[in-house]
Symmetry: C5
Subunit: 344 residues, 5 copies
């Protein structure tokens, strides 16, 4: 606690946030860090996880439940949900916008179909956040899947640079997507395994305390009952999102595995084709070498120097025949040598 | 709950399903989502896991047990089992057909051999679904196994493009098969580890409730006893399918590992053969270079320019000898240099 | 139960088995599946795990303890151990033969040294099966280990195709061996972790029942005591085989890792040698190119066309000098360019 | 205990340490090992983990809580925290300096904002150590992240040696960073899972004992209460640092994965481009071979030997036409052969 | 038990051992297996784990605690510790020698500094064994670490075969070291997790029994107290060695990871350099091809055949110009084609 004060307290940063009230009104505000801490009862180090200025080092998704507030950090969405309003930090980034689009209809009483039990505002916020995040994963995956499948079908026959580049980009996107979905899945698993955390989620903003032996103690007995009923509801809700998140994660991993295997196979394929090209090149070089020997002989006889063979009849035909015959014999000798050595 | 309504409730999709009643009659029906929810007592978000329109994002197999229905999502089979009938969603896909073929004989009382205890309809459905799914894996594996074994035997000696392509396709199939069998195995493990889930499976459609401390409480005492006896039966049944699924998974992984190792070895093999080809090419190029020096000399003497050597006796033989001797000496000098440097 | 009947019951396969009685007599028999089920009290689906006709899909080792029989599936050994005899299914395969060779001496009372407590027949069968299986692993490993060590020593200096092929074959064998030892290890671990399973193993063929809270209840109090004493004995026996199996598994993995690292290093080694060859080739091609320029010049002057330079004194020497000087200068310019660009 | 004495006791090394007292005074001292053991009540083998002379073999971070001292080994920071002072061993290395810079302001009562509860000195030391270490990770990651992102964007188009070298260096740094962050994360997890360890951390330097059943027993009842309150505080503090450490670890792994995938893709990319180059080379060599045949023919007719064709009219044109036509035909025959064989 | 007798009992091997008594006397002895079993109260199958003749199949380190003896198998050290003496099996191998060197000073009462509690002889043996083994790991790591660091610094710039070979050897050593340290770590973890095993270690050679509910029961009450005090001491001792062993393991893995990443990077580096070489080769071949066309033309005009152009003024200059111009134009056309196709 002291340390936080020392590190950050000297400066009092101002966050530009969008505030969505529980009645659905949206407004842009500037909040002083100091003020935020006071009003929400949070500790300085809690803020770290949603502070947009630290976005490089708090990339792990987190859902922190504190006494009067829930801190949400889901990728590009950073928000603090309180009893009556939610503060969204980097609301201009995709995550923030998708979240607001998802949250607003939930707050509109008209859109309720049937008189379902209304969830407390904080939980609506949490669900909207999870929903918008996972839907984002699903949409990206739905875009990627057919693209990757196409690539896998096309690739073995069309190994152009452009298609390899597309495969590379798909792989990078899948690595990123799989890693994000995996982190979110881990976060949901951690919450579900920690029954205290879920209970804390139930009593956020209520006059209840979580006792030593993780029993809920409320001032109003009715509230305790509601909290207990809500617990199961929240668990099923989180399990549902966990399952969707796992689906995304697995699908991304599966596509990535396929793409990796494909790349490995392509590498071997290219290697085998290069070997074929090299072997034909070698064949040609054997031929060229033999021709070069012949050319040297003919060049020697073409020198303006007297060999005193010039006048002999048939010298031309003998030499020519010798050159051609020698080149062909040399070629086939080398060729059969290379075959025997299994180089060709 | 509210959120589901908001997202999906505005439209009321109609599902085309095949209904198989517990008496074995098969009929095609159109079911309104709204109607389905009402009749089965399911929540909107439960339907997600079997909704065929979302097949890209709910690829993870799941078996959800609700109060009056069991939701099955096993790859291409999506079904809802209720007390008297089962709805199969994408019945035209392979999974749906195999399931119906597997289920129908079970419902035919004539085919019963010996008066074994008849399982409740829902459990017959679950078993038929698991059985048809795992048999599908086993059949694919039985097709693949000899093919891969053949490839592994043939490959080191016949590295043609066609055979490499076959290896690639086998690997892709194995990746997919292994991933699907692994997901199914995980699902079965999760159910087996969660004794509550198995108990819920026992009391589906019975007048029993699963109490707080996961004890079964029934209105009819006899039913409780049957449920308890069934519990063990279900566990053994699931364990049996788990074992078969694990067998498939392991076998697929083993074949995939073998294929991967083979590909790695082929890559090194090709690399070493390319080196051999390159080294012989180098040898030929050294030869060609030496011949080219000789050819240049002979070419120079072949120019129509006066060197005043033309008339010297033996100039021809001296030059010719010098060219040939020089080329051979240069070749062997370079050759021994390359040997010393271990390049050749 | 019903399902099994439906799937398999219509046909009644006949298994050819070797029966070894507890007195050591060996006989070949044909057993009807139906008869086998009746006499052993097994369920149809239990038989699956030892059915030799399904050997492709039940490759996972398993040791199933049922009321009156123990079903063994250890690779190529499939057997059912009952109170007085053991049925071995595919007795012609290596696993079955080794098992019989291991089992028979145990049944011969003469070979007992000191009056050690004689284990029940079923447990002797289980131990003989585990022993013959693990000894098989150990023998294969003892054959492979020196071979792999030799290869690893020889390889960096002798990268011939034959040696690479040997490395490949070793790797494939190690993958297979490691995977099989790993599966057996997992099976033993699973049994050791499940105290119920061990207790069931103790009371096989005795008039004892495993109660709800996994207490042993026997009709004869003495039997209970013996069973309890046996429990610890069995645990230590299984732990011993587990340790040997783990040793095999680890050793196989270690050798495989070494072989993989070796292959990776060879790939880089070959790559670096190919680069060296390529660089020398490039050097020669630069030389050949320069000679070709010279040859072209000399060829031009060798044309039977008049350049009117023919008669000029020193034209020959000037041109010759120019050709040689130009070729050398061009060579060194290119050479230093390539050095500067770090291509050579 | 005896062994330690035997191994190290004969020599009495002197450590040069920086001592920071709880009042904030910094002084350099030389401490005899023997004296240190006496004053701190530590055992010889405890010292091992912070002994700077063993820095190669105690690279694993550790936080050992002993009765009167806490031993800290966090990478390049080795320190012993006691009730009134902390000894920093290799204070000249980066870790030691960053730690002192982080610790000193915490000890300055003026810098306290608001009258927060002051933590005991040892805990301030632990927090300062963790904080300085994790901040070091975060800073390195913040430096690396944009650099790697830039590389990943630039790479596919600019495959120069310099950029590949940069990628290599980034990868090495990420491997190191990921491994260090992972080890620290594991250490924090181990502490958090071990409730005894945390309790021991609470009562360091107090007159309390940790009883058999891990209950805290204090001589002064008030101290027990404080210790219990502190426990939760420490847990939250450690969880906070764990979360930051996990963030670093995951981010480093993610970047490393991206870089690895990139390198794999580059390898395939390079392979495919080499194939293209080779194929064009092959094309040229086919051409050169055909020209060489022609050149040989023309060379043969250029020999100073009589072919008695010299005088024939059109012999020149016939031969020339034959050479050119033959070369072109040979080229296209070979070319179509290679296309049919899919080599070109 | 029976099985052991059957397999090994028929032969009675004689082991050559070094016996170190608790008073520090060292003597070489030959022990009959049968005698050893009798005197130590061990079972035949226990001996397996230390039998030097089986060193290929019992490579996993193990520490077996039996009633009157502790069996130690730590790599090349195989020993049986009894109440008054320890038998060392393959005492000529490095492990055995280091162990004796480590053990002897501990038995010398003079070397005790301060009157520390003397540990029982068996525990001194266990500690000496662990200490000598882990120190061996640490020394090898201290030798390897700077060597690998040097290689990693030198490598990117000096890719010679000798340095690659050194990297390969380092990797092989690290694989082996990491695997051995990992196995030892696992063994220590297993012991630490099994509180029964530690208790058994405490009461070795005492008149105590480990009861059913793993309580220690001694005939002399004092011994029970001592055993309980020792328990904590042993746990801390094992934890200390575990920590050192983990340090070694992690450091070896980290170095291996760095070396692997380095090798991957080198492969890409080599690949990119080969591409550069290939591209320059291609450039030269384009040039050579153009020159060859020119040379063919000049060769054609050099034939001793009449073209009737011989006498034309300017024919020479026209042809020469045509050849040179044509070659240059062809070169640049091909060059720009290759650039456009991104091959060059």
């Amino acid at each position: 606690s002291l340390s936080d004060a020392l590190n950050i307290g000297s400066r009092d940063p101002v966050y530009e946030v969008v505030e969505v009230s529980s009645k659905g009104t949206v407004s842009t505000r500037k909040v002083h860090r100091r003020h935020l801490l006071k009003s929400s009862g949070l500790r300085p180090r809690d803020i770290r996880s949603v502070d947009p200025s630290l976005w490089l080092t708090n990339t792990m998704p987190s859902l922190l439940v504190r006494e009067n507030a829930i801190l949400l950090n889901l990728g590009s969405l950073r928000a603090i949900a309180m009893q009556d309003s939610v503060f969204i930090f980097n609301y201009n980034r995709r995550g923030g916008k998708a979240f607001i689009d998802d949250l607003l209809p939930r707050l509109n009483p008209k859109s309720m179909i049937g008189g379902g039990v209304v969830m407390p505002f904080e939980l609506e916020v949490v669900e909207a956040a999870l929903h918008s995040r996972i839907q984002h994963f699903e949409h990206r995956l739905m875009d990627l899947d057919p693209h990757v499948q196409d690539l896998l079908k096309v690739l073995p026959n069309r190994l152009t640079a452009a298609i390899l580049e597309q495969l590379r980009i798909c792989k990078q996107t899948l690595v990123e997507l799989g890693s994000k979905a995996g982190a979110l899945k881990q976060m949901l698993l951690d919450i579900l395994e920690d029954s205290q955390e879920i209970r804390r989620l139930c009593i956020v903003g209520r006059n209840c305390i979580l006792g030593r032996n993780s029993d809920v103690e409320c001032t109003v007995p009715l509230e305790k009952q509601i909290a207990e009923e809500e617990e199961e509801e929240i668990e099923m809700l989180l399990e549902n999102y966990l399952h969707r998140c796992e689906s995304c994660h697995n699908q991304a991993e599966r596509l990535l595995d396929s793409a990796r295997e494909m790349e490995d196979s392509i590498a071997v394929n290219l290697s085998s084709r290069r070997l074929q090209v090299s072997r034909f090149e070698l064949l040609l070089q054997v031929g060229t070498f033999c021709l070069a020997v012949g050319a040297l002989v003919s060049g020697i006889f073409g020198m303006n120097l007297r060999s005193y063979l010039e006048e002999h009849v048939f010298a031309f035909w003998l030499t020519t025949g010798g050159i051609i015959f020698g080149a062909i014999v040399a070629f086939f000798l080398t060729y059969s040598y290379l075959r025997a050595k299994k180089i060709l």
